[in-house]
């Protein structure tokens, strides 16, 4: 039999628009292309704007991880204005940040991922679900299904915590350069604590056992969708008056078992197989080119020291020594759920530590001390980086590298693959009818965000 090509398009239940093409031969995926098919041009839209508009503008890159963009823009501005961040603001920022993580992880697991593994009620929007390879017993299915509705409520509560302090969600207003514009008054802290308790109970009683159940029943997925063990994290939860401390360390993990600190100068972006052409002349002048021959995605290629790296909760958990497993589909799912539990515990501690106050913890300097800055942090899906060059108070150049750029990079000229394409290639599938399901499970385990990746 000659190789056959399959399109999974649209690959639904993710953020944004994605098509995946796989070449299937002799029971094995021998090639895969992950094609991100939307492009807006945020790096162009950022030019000439006042630099303080970056927090609200860049949040519009992404709906599901919007605060992450606002946060990294704020860190960037803190550096440009040399702000001092008060202890209260540090705690409050991280409470808000973690709340947005909870919302993301819960929605990913229950709304996007569960229909890959569990038979849903045959009502819309779950009609015509692919029923191949759904392995739970009717009792197990009965137990999990009501959790989907509860997860919708729990994720809403996570955004309610964010909104109590942030004004709205997504695209919050108060986490800005210099701190947070809302005071952590006792009523707000109390409301947040009780909301968190309910979320935490859900995570303990539903998310963790449900994840365990999937891990037990779909054990083979600990061997499906493996990537090379090259993992990267920029670290998570910034503390210190200059955002200089990280609660969860950053790291590059290659073949070595000890992670090293990432050197940002080793990051390189390219557009060989992306829908962009390079203009001649100085600088990195790109122009979008949706008919470029040989190109297949709006995501650029990003590499660290010449190689592709996987980012996300699994990378964070392994780099910080909290997870000992491999780099498979199920490892990514399990690590994300375990991280969710840890986040609720951290938030609990921070809400206990924070001193109630009626003064917003915000001090914004008004004089720029730098004209250029680069800031890395981890977001929900992994390593996120914003960098800016100014002319006066206005943006001359703004560059964004999101987590899904790392995981869904366009392949390079020599055919080196992104983590997601690597995870797909080499997968054996016993019958054609399992192809859709298997590809969907592998791809979704990365929690792709295509709006972010293409921006």
């Amino acid at each position: 039999m000659s190789p056959k090509s399959f399109n999974i398009s649209p690959l639904t239940r993710i953020s944004g628009l994605l098509s995946v093409n796989v070449v299937f031969d002799n029971g094995m995926i021998i090639d895969a292309l992950a094609s991100s098919t939307m492009f807006r041009g945020f790096e162009w839209a950022m030019k000439n704007r006042h630099v303080t508009d970056a927090v609200y503008m860049t949040q519009r890159v992404c709906g599901i991880c919007s605060l992450a963009h606002g946060a990294v823009s704020s860190y960037l501005l803190d550096e440009l204005y040399d702000n001092e961040i008060s202890e209260t603001a540090q705690l409050l920022r991280n409470i808000m940040y973690a709340a947005d993580f909870l919302q993301n992880h819960l929605r990913h697991f229950y709304i996007f991922s569960i229909p890959d593994f569990v038979q849903m009620p045959q009502t819309m929007p779950f009609h015509c679900q692919d029923l191949e390879d759904l392995r739970l017993t009717p009792e197990q299915t009965q137990r999990i299904i009501p959790h989907v509705a509860e997860a919708i409520k729990a994720a809403q509560k996570a955004h309610e915590i964010l909104t109590v302090f942030g004004g709205k969600a997504p695209h919050q207003h108060s986490f800005l350069h210099g701190g947070v514009a809302v005071a952590p008054t006792v009523d707000k802290l109390t409301r947040a604590s009780f909301l968190l308790q309910e979320i935490q109970a859900f995570v303990k009683q539903c998310l963790i056992p449900d994840t365990q159940l999937l891990a037990d029943v779909y054990q083979d997925y600990f061997h499906i969708g493996n990537t090379p063990r090259r993992l990267l994290s920029f670290g998570l939860f910034r503390f210190g008056p200059k955002n200089e401390k990280l609660l969860w360390r950053s790291g590059v993990l290659d073949e070595a078992n000890i992670p090293t600190v990432p050197d940002l100068s080793l990051i390189q972006e390219d557009v060989e197989t992306s829908w962009f052409t390079k203009k001649s002349g100085e600088g990195q002048q790109l122009s979008p080119s949706p008919r470029k021959p040989g190109a297949y995605t709006w995501v650029k290629t990003v590499k660290y020291a010449g190689q592709c790296f996987q980012v996300g909760p699994l990378a964070r958990m392994i780099i910080t020594g909290r997870y000992a497993g491999g780099t498979s589909t199920m490892d990514r799912i399990v690590a994300r759920s375990q991280e969710t539990m840890l986040l609720t515990e951290l938030m609990h501690d921070w809400l206990t530590q924070i001193q109630p106050s009626e003064t917003p913890p915000l001090t914004q300097n008004s004089v720029l001390v730098k004209q250029q800055a680069t800031f890395p942090t981890d977001a929900m899906r992994g390593a996120l980086l914003h960098s800016v060059r100014l002319e006066g108070e206005h943006v001359a150049e703004y560059n964004i590298i999101t987590p899904t750029v790392w995981n869904f990079s366009a392949r390079d000229a020599s055919g080196n693959h992104s983590p997601v394409e690597d995870a797909l290639i080499g997968t054996t599938i016993s019958r054609d009818s399992l192809l859709n399901t298997t590809v969907g499970r592998i791809v979704r385990s990365f929690d792709p965000c295509i709006s972010c990746a293409t921006h």
């Binding site: 398009s9 639904t12 709906g63 819309m124 309610e160 964010l162 949706p290 008919r291 969907g440």
Partner: protein, 320 residues
């Protein structure tokens, strides 16, 4: 529930008794469905070029929660975000639904429509031989739908996707259709505005729209008019810095030019909104957002010349 009662109910919704919506509206909807024998509102939801914030906003709906909307109000035939099916199956569902519910379904579009290079900057699905662009899909489905709802500011007016220099030549949905489009703007949309519009369509048909095509029920007044800090404005007591509990006009507030009910409806289970969070309203429901609001922290009269939208001919709250 009669139409006037429904409108009155939507208008006066407050934080004090959020359960009331579920308790009042859902039984009314069920009763309506039972009484008329009508099916739920059939909906095809297309995601085009935005940040996905509007489907997140929908998931933040409380009373009814998203799953209650699915169970009681709409039949979500197609949605890139929510449907279980994927790939070829999903595309077949879209084609079949468009045919079967022709003239009946409500088309919801989330995101702007790029028009440059034949719309190739947004492809909703690709077959081995063809990239189905958002432009194509919206024009095709827009011609078959009973109602078209643009959800969010990108779909309504272009929004951040069409921000200068708009290298993809993106526009709002109505710019690529020749029919009426309901603009439920907001960046993101407030879930009440969206779910309330769907409820109105299902039970009473077209809602009354303002001159910009937005449901008057949610967008008839300016933010400024109902702002809790209006008394500070009237006394010219302006905030000096972000975080001050005073009028945010001095820090770029777009409230006087922005039509939305944020001050009394608020966000995410009705707990807060931007001005209450001691920051300016940035006018995210306006047709020129974000460029017309930029720079965000510069007072209205000094924003970029010619950019500030005059979206209300009857504007009465001009700054002093």
């Amino acid at each position: 529930m009669d139409w006037e009662a429904f409108l009155a109910f939507c208008r006066k919704n407050r934080a004090s008794n959020t359960q009331q919506i579920t308790e009042t509206v859902l039984p009314a909807v069920s009763q309506f469905l039972a009484h008329t024998g009508q099916p739920k509102l059939p909906v095809i939801w297309l995601e085009t070029n935005d940040s996905g914030d509007n489907n997140i906003a929908f998931m933040n709906s409380t009373y009814p929660y998203a799953e209650q909307v699915f169970a009681n109000m709409i039949d979500l035939l197609y949605s890139n975000t929510f449907m279980a099916a994927q790939g070829e199956d999903a595309l077949q569902i879209l084609f079949a639904a468009a045919e079967q519910y022709k003239g009946e379904f409500t088309l919801v579009v989330e995101g702007a429509i790029p028009t440059k290079d034949d719309g190739l900057y947004c492809v909703i699905a690709q077959t081995p031989t063809h990239r189905i662009t958002a432009l194509e899909a919206v024009q095709w489905l827009g011609s078959l739908a009973k109602h078209v709802v643009a959800v969010g500011t990108c779909a309504s007016f272009g929004g951040p996707t069409s921000a200068e220099p708009n290298i993809t030549s993106s526009v709002g949905v109505s710019a690529v259709l020749t029919r009426e489009v309901i603009h439920v703007s907001g960046c993101p949309v407030n879930p009440d505005w969206f779910v309330g519009t769907l409820a109105h369509l299902m039970m009473y048909g077209m809602p009354e729209l303002d001159e910009l095509g937005r449901p008057a029920l949610f967008f008839e007044n300016t933010v400024h008019r109902h702002c809790q800090r209006r008394s500070y404005f009237d006394k010219k007591d302006y905030a000096e810095q972000l975080g001050d509990e005073k009028c945010m006009f001095s820090l770029g507030c777009m409230g006087p030019r922005t039509h939305a009910d944020c001050p009394y409806r608020q966000w995410i289970n009705y707990v807060n909104w931007p001005v209450r969070a001691n920051t300016p309203c940035i006018g995210c429901t306006t047709p020129n957002f974000p460029d017309g609001s930029a720079p965000f922290f510069t007072p209205l009269p000094q924003k970029r010349p010619g950019q500030a939208p005059q979206d209300s001919p009857a504007e009465k709250e001009s700054p002093p």
